[in-house]
């Protein structure tokens, strides 16, 4: 029984000790954050990295105020190749010369600006290999099986051919393989086609475009709406967006992707 009391006491001690004293802060001081943005893929030249800072709520967004012009940025590819990035315009830092990312390569981003430093890692995914294309006529979406590659997740957009391809604005979800290994399969689906493309009367063709991402995209996708402006007064944010750029008071995504061609569904 004595043991029982001692353990209870210890539990209480730990529980109290873990309280986060900074949880309630009546003064909502503005905390400037550095914002890093970069999405790159194998089908175009490396687009550069955008470095900006958040502005106080009472300051209207203006790129001239937000952009950072004197940061130090480097890419490191596969642990060796250093590519300096140079300020170009509107917060964009680019390599001096164009180059195209190669699938399977690992890209690290290093950066410094004043007291901020940041780091991110992204593996360039391989082009999705697709099997078993199917149109779900009750849910009005397309789905495919994708053969998995290491450290990748998958998402898909519906598309229709109207002379040029029209696609969904965003993914329905991100499909995560049961293990981040090679040569398994994972089912990937699009969002519902718009009403005008659902009916059997629609005489055009439906397509699907499958994207592969570095696995860090999954956490971002699932949480990306959580930092958006709340328009519904009865809803409140449930947490922070999960970014893959690491650093104190630094947020952002440095993410690579690859995509299939438009795959005919029906």
């Amino acid at each position: 029984m004595k043991h029982f009391k001692v353990i209870l006491f210890l539990c209480l001690l730990f529980f109290i000790g873990c309280e986060n004293e900074e949880l309630i802060n009546p003064e909502f001081d503005y905390q400037q954050k550095l914002v890093i943005q970069c999405q790159f893929s194998v089908d175009r030249n490396f687009p550069g990295v955008i470095v900006t800072r958040t502005l106080p709520l009472d300051v209207e967004f203006n790129i001239n105020l937000a952009e950072i012009t004197n940061a130090t940025l480097y890419l490191r590819i596969n642990g060796y190749q250093i590519i300096p990035l140079h300020y170009f315009e509107n917060g964009v830092y680019k390599p001096l010369y164009d180059f195209r990312p190669i699938e399977g390569d690992y890209y690290e981003l290093y950066g410094e600006w004043n007291e901020y430093s940041f780091y991110a890692l992204s593996k360039v995914p391989v082009k999705p290999v697709v099997r078993n294309v199917n149109f779900n006529s009750s849910g009005f979406y397309s789905e495919v099986d994708v053969i998995t590659s290491k450290d990748e997740v998958y998402a898909a957009l519906w598309a229709v051919d109207q002379g040029t391809y029209q696609t969904a604005n965003d993914f329905y979800n991100v499909s995560v393989p049961s293990s981040y290994t090679n040569n398994n399969t994972v089912s990937v689906r699009s969002a519902e086609y718009p009403v005008e493309y659902q009916s059997s009367i629609y005489d055009g063709r439906r397509y699907i475009s499958v994207y592969s991402f570095d696995r860090s995209f999954d956490a971002y996708f699932k949480t990306k709406t959580q930092n958006e402006e709340i328009n519904n007064p009865y809803v409140q944010g449930s947490g922070s967006t999960v970014w893959n750029v690491k650093g104190e008071n630094v947020i952002g995504m440095f993410i690579s992707y690859n995509k299939s061609d438009f795959i005919f569904v029906n």
Binding site: F14, C18, L96, Y97, E108
Partner: protein, 342 residues
């Protein structure tokens, strides 16, 4: 009974403890930007001169002769060579005070060009490139050096023209895997990238032009085995297109200059070994001297093959129209007047 309670509380304890761990604590990678990467970034930020079509900033003897008032002429040959004959108004100096003099001229006459003159154009190309890397955009090198000014100075060039070795091949040797940039050791007192770069360049300039190798003199020492041989230039400097062609010395790796500029950071720069000496040849030795300057600043142990392909395969250089521009011949010698004495 007691054991059960004990286990239950242990489980509770573990649960509470785990839930209290701060799951927002993200480990930030150590961001170690070494000096070589910093210098690489700085050199790119001021135009990356060696990796552009401007390199090696050649000025022909004719251009200099016709516009001589537009140039400061800095002759870096020995006082004996200078006194045996030099271009009128040329200033003789040693490499040890080259940087200071160029800096002074650049500041007092920013719009006037500076041409560096050496005996055969390779040392001057080396120093002109170093000075360009230091930010002096008005520095040039006299094409083929004094040898193109007057026949009197052309002995070195004509003495080098030969085909020294016929154990050449057309085998294309692959580039090495990517590796780290060399490590530079710089005084910790240097704070800015510019300071580090200028310090590195002035140190290299102060050592003089010691990065030239004569292939014929060194082939017997096994230089082809100890050094990574690199052809820097167009394909016909690497491969001979005749049947059974023998384009380059064995184990030579080809780096393209035109359009690709493979010493750029986005290309194959870091396939160069950081732990092995490198020997580069180009068409006439002037571009390779410039590239050696650039790579030396980045910490590579690198040398240029003097006279380039003129020394390796002069006959072939003359016979293939695409590469005859690299040939040194009597047509390049202008026989302009020179003066003797100091």
């Amino acid at each position: 009974m007691m054991k059960k309670r004990f286990k239950l509380f242990f489980l509770l304890f573990a649960l509470i403890f785990q839930s209290c761990l701060d799951d927002n604590a993200v480990p930030v990678e150590d961001i170690v930007l070494d000096d070589t990467a910093e210098i690489l970034r700085y050199l790119e930020s001021i135009g990356d001169f060696p990796n552009t079509e401007l390199a090696p900033a050649l000025v022909t003897a004719t251009e200099l002769f016709n516009n001589i008032s537009q140039y400061f002429i800095l002759d870096i040959r020995t006082p004996q060579e200078f006194s045996s004959g030099h271009i009128e108004l040329a200033i003789n100096l040693t490499s040890s005070n080259l940087y200071e003099i160029v800096d002074s001229l650049y500041n007092t006459h920013p719009n006037k060009k500076i041409v560096i003159v050496s005996q055969n154009g390779q040392a001057s190309s080396y120093f002109a490139c170093l000075l360009r890397l230091a930010g002096f955009e008005n520095v040039y090198t006299l094409n083929f050096g004094m040898a193109s000014w007057n026949m009197f100075f052309a002995d070195e060039w004509f003495g080098a023209l030969d085909s020294v070795d016929q154990s050449f091949t057309n085998i294309e040797y692959p580039k090495r895997p990517f590796t780290h940039l060399p490590k530079l050791e710089l005084p910790p007192s240097l704070k800015t990238i510019q300071e580090k770069t200028i310090y590195t360049i002035t140190e290299i300039i102060g050592k003089g032009f010691i990065n030239g190798i004569n292939y014929s003199e060194n082939i017997s020492t096994g230089i082809a085995n100890t050094h990574l041989l690199i052809c820097y230039g167009e394909v016909r400097l690497y491969n001979e297109f005749a049947i059974g062609g023998k384009g380059h010395p064995e184990n030579t790796v080809w780096f393209k200059n035109a359009t690709l500029f493979e010493f750029r950071s986005v290309n194959s720069l870091q396939t160069l070994p950081n732990d092995q000496p490198i020997l580069i040849y180009s068409g006439d030795g002037q571009l390779s001297a410039c590239m050696v300057a650039y790579l030396t600043v980045l910490g590579y142990n690198v040398k240029t093959l003097l006279f380039g392909a003129n020394q390796l395969f002069y006959a072939r250089l003359n016979s293939e129209p695409e590469i005859t521009k690299y040939v040194f011949s009597v047509q390049d010698i202008m026989n302009y007047p020179y003066i003797t004495g100091n």
